[in-house]
């Protein structure tokens, strides 16, 4: 039995900002169902009273002095931009043209 449906896959793809074609959606229904069923193994495990492990190290806050350090200059920061005007990153228009 499929654990998740094509609608689930579409919904999750939307959250993940992925556009999947029909073939990919079909494939992922099967693959994700299979993998998630395997993960259901965890339900066998009694975890009551166990604190979730968020991180490996027992460190909480790491502070540094509040001083300005070196950072990238504008030219370097923009050097990998797919599109820029030399000052800003350019993206397609966000608001509809009126």
């Amino acid at each position: 039995m499929a654990k998740i449906t094509k609608e689930d896959v579409e919904y999750v793809a939307g959250l993940a900002q992925l556009s999947l074609d029909e073939a990919a959606r079909e494939r992922l229904v099967g693959e994700m169902s299979n993998i998630l069923s395997y993960m259901d193994k965890l339900n066998e495990l009694d975890t009551s009273g166990i604190e979730p492990m968020m991180h490996v190290l027992d460190i909480s806050n790491v502070y540094r002095d509040d001083v300005v350090g070196p950072s990238l200059d504008r030219e370097t920061a923009l050097m990998n931009a797919p599109k820029s005007d030399g000052e800003y990153f350019l993206v397609p228009r966000i608001l509809d043209q009126e």
Binding site: S19, L36, K41, L42, L45, T47, P52, P82
Partner: protein
């Protein structure tokens, strides 16, 4: 001597530089010749920095000639997994989404190796964004195993492992999120170390799963491993999770003595999942420890069976968050002809990421999504605590744990690509180590009947790298064989 200089370890090279028998220029040119001769078949390198390496080697020649090398790795040819940011060349994670990306900075490990005089000769192939166990998920090429070109080198750091095993350079760096250093090291027959989480700075390592990722070296022996760890370990202000724990001189751990050590064998690792031939190799390796005076006991890691499920929840969840940054705005691939910003995000990601990366982003997004967070992600984090506790308990009874690194030797190209879950299960012996954050080292423990390397995994307590290196060094000295050269030429 230039002819086979490429075969030497880093410490042998430096001895030869010191005594004037050879120079870094000769060694680098020997490695470049070797790359030229074998890499069209092996496909370990995605970029070779010939001119850069030759220039760097000349500068190193001068330092050695003046008797003032920068350190014990000065003039040693190294290779870097393409997940590490380098100002030189490109940094692409072997993904289409980062094709042509030039990092404005060097990863801390790269900076430290450069400051020590090591000479990077290029970038190495990997599964896209380090997601895979065979290097077949690279968008660039499929790396071959130098012992058998029909087989995978393991992954995700398959290029790094193959390059050292085929003597293309003395040392490489890789990254290990669930076994991506140790499993390919085992498959290719070299030494690979995943340090304790926090031992080595992750600054400049393109993030896959931030609570699991660690950078580590591939070397030809334990001695070189100690030399690299001396250079790359330690606190880095650029990585808040790098631990403020003093770095010992790891070469002091290179003593052939394990008589004071208790070795634990986890009973859950020696089940039917382990092939008979691999089991025999591991048992023979355990005997070497026993004969060297170590006490061998059985230990239990009762939650082993849950590790793969926990891992693929935690790592996909973290990956889905980390990879959200590749949106086509500031760097990386941007799909042409997008009609809106939203459309640009969607198209750039869908066209830029390969199938395994998309699958993991989907799984990670699902397990974090509203309604499933508690059932999957939170449950996995609780189970992760139990897995770590297993190791804490086991290490109260023993100093190191010995296991196989992988259940089988390297498999054939294409053998596991049809079923992602089967591919995930090739990491059963390595994954728990990342979940617990402890160090793990893989060292060759023989060749199978089909002439493929087998790997022994040595696990230690947090920041117990010295003990791991001592155990590895002792085993190397006492095992009574060498793997020899892989047949590639």
């Amino acid at each position: 001597m230039t002819g086979t200089l490429y075969r030497l370890t880093a410490h042998e090279l430096c001895d030869a530089y010191k005594s004037g028998k050879t120079t870094p220029s000769q060694a680098v040119s020997s490695c470049l010749d070797r790359i030229n001769a074998v890499d069209s078949k092996l496909k370990a390198f995605v970029d070779v920095w010939k001119d850069y390496a030759v220039d760097q080697a000349q500068a190193s020649d001068d330092r050695w000639a003046k008797g003032a090398p920068k350190g014990p790795l000065d003039g040693v040819p190294i290779g870097l997994k393409d997940v590490l940011c380098t100002k030189q060349g490109f940094t692409t994670c072997c993904s289409k989404i980062l094709r042509g990306y030039r990092s404005p900075f060097d990863a801390t490990v790269v900076e430290r190796l450069l400051n020590a005089g090591a000479i990077p000769v290029g970038k190495l192939n990997m599964d896209e964004f380090a997601m895979g166990s065979s290097t077949e998920n690279s968008s660039v090429q499929v790396t071959r195993n130098p012992w058998n070109l029909r087989c995978v080198p393991g992954g995700s750091s398959g290029g790094s492992a193959a390059a050292v095993a085929a003597d293309e350079c003395a040392i490489t760096l890789g990254s290990d999120t669930g076994g991506s250093i140790r499993q390919p090291a085992a498959c290719c027959g070299c030494v690979g170390l995943k340090p304790t989480y926090g031992r080595v700075s992750r600054y400049g390592l393109v993030a896959f799963a931030s609570s699991l990722d660690q950078i580590g070296p591939f070397t030809k022996d334990a001695h070189d491993m100690a030399l690299v760890m001396n250079v790359i370990s330690g606190r880095d202000p650029h990585d808040a999770t790098s631990a403020d724990v003093p770095v010992p001189d790891y070469t002091k751990a290179l003593r052939a003595d394990v008589s004071d050590l208790t070795v634990g064998l986890p009973k859950e690792y020696f089940t039917d999942a382990l092939g008979q031939e691999m089991r025999e190799k591991i048992e023979a390796a355990v005997k070497v420890f026993e004969k060297s005076g170590a006490k061998v006991i059985e230990v239990s890691l009762p939650h082993t069976d849950y590790a793969v499920a926990v891992y693929y929840i935690v790592c996909t969840a973290e990956a889905s968050a980390n990879l959200a940054r590749f949106d086509g705005v500031r760097y990386g691939y941007r799909a042409p002809n997008a009609v809106s910003v939203e459309d640009m995000y969607h198209r750039s990601k869908s066209e830029g990421y390969g199938p395994e990366v998309q699958r993991r982003i989907m799984l990670g997004t699902y397990v974090l999504s509203s309604g499933y967070y508690d059932a999957y992600y939170l449950k996995a984090q609780k189970a992760r605590a139990l897995i770590r506790r297993d190791f804490t308990n086991a290490f109260q009874k023993c100093d190191v744990i010995l296991t196989p690194t992988a259940p089988t030797p390297a498999f054939e190209i294409g053998a596991k690509t049809a079923d992602p879950l089967e591919m995930y299960l090739s990491d059963i012996y390595t994954i728990s180590v990342n979940l617990a954050g402890i160090p793990g080292l893989s060292i060759p423990c023989g060749l199978t009947a089909s002439k493929l390397p087998a790997g022994l995994q040595i696990l230690g307590k947090p920041f117990g790298e010295e003990t791991l290196l001592r155990a590895a060094y002792t085993y190397e000295q006492k095992r009574g064989f060498t793997l020899g050269q892989p047949p590639i030429s």
